[in-house]
């Protein structure tokens, strides 16, 4: 379980997240420089597997340095892709670490 963190930021993702746009989002997340970054996924209209994979890699990178990236407000069409790729299973393991 995540403990309450004062040093946190919230990033809102909008539109289409794929190989040609995901680096903008990753740059925004990186620029936050906070211990906890929350990615609000409500505005995502489309995301491909590359987009999800690179966000997951970013979470893993941050985790290794004592930071974290969490995904919230995940719409159904995005959650379906998460489910298919086994991302929720991976995220569950991070909670247990």
């Amino acid at each position: 379980m995540l403990k309450p963190v004062k040093d946190q930021a919230r990033v809102f993702a909008h539109g289409e997240i794929d190989i040609s746009t995901v680096h903008h989002l990753l740059e925004l997340i990186e620029a936050c420089d906070n211990t906890l970054v929350t990615l609000d996924c409500k505005g995502i209209e489309f995301i491909d597997s590359t987009g999800i994979g690179l966000l997951l890699r970013k979470k893993m990178e941050m985790y290794e340095t004592g930071r974290d990236l969490v995904f919230v407000e995940i719409p159904k069409h995005v959650s379906d892709v998460f489910e298919e790729m086994g991302i929720f299973q991976i995220l569950e393991e991070f909670k247990g670490m």
Binding site: G53, M60, G86
Partner: protein, 262 residues
Amino acid sequence: MQHRFFEYLETVPGATEELVAAQKIQQLLLQDDLPINQGLTVAGVSIPAYQLSGDYYDFITDDERQRVWVLIGDVMGKGIPAALIMVMLRATVRCLVSVSDSPGELLSKLNNLLLKDLTRLKAFSSLFCGYYDEPSSLFYFATAGHPNPVYYSAKKNSIRKLEAKGTIIGILKDRIYQNHSLPLAKGDLLLLCTDGVLEAVDKNNLQVSYEMVMDLIMKHKDNSLQHLIEQIIEGINCGTDQFRRDDVTIAAVRCEEEGGND
């Protein structure tokens, strides 16, 4: 990425020739001899978003154990970087086929073997893996984060998406992939695709759904597998750049012998 790709072609001497050679190698690898098996017919098509693809399909015969392996995978990204990893994935899978007793075991071994390289490359891959066991007419399968296949039952004249779960390859070590089995009977059909098919946009700007793919299968299921795949590609317009966002790959398998029941 596309911009960088064209920059590479324009600035590196001989890049176009290199690319054409790489395309030929990839097509040769994909167009390997199809298994000659009386119990099963197979077909596959892969269309890159750019010149090279990170997608992959393969059919491998294990004569000793009377199995035909069916694989379809998708390496993260597109173009040359994805194609290089795809070749690595294909070679590793081919080595593992003879030393794996089940699709789940193959996926677990593959994940651990490729984990270090994929982590260093910040990449990953999805892979659906299955084999048709001729003596029992059972199709065994497991998935590593790949879109599930669609299954058509000839006896019931019904179609549905198979349900299997598993995490993508190259993220965490020591993953366990659950095995599933499905009895196949004469006329039964499995259609496998990469997410490029389900991310394509049709003429009406609607994203392709499983339902659209299933409707097309029902409409063209009696054709040859090659023709069926062509009809699906035409039906969802993912054969044209205008509608395609990603590499697109479809593989199909049809059971040709009596036996099995659903």
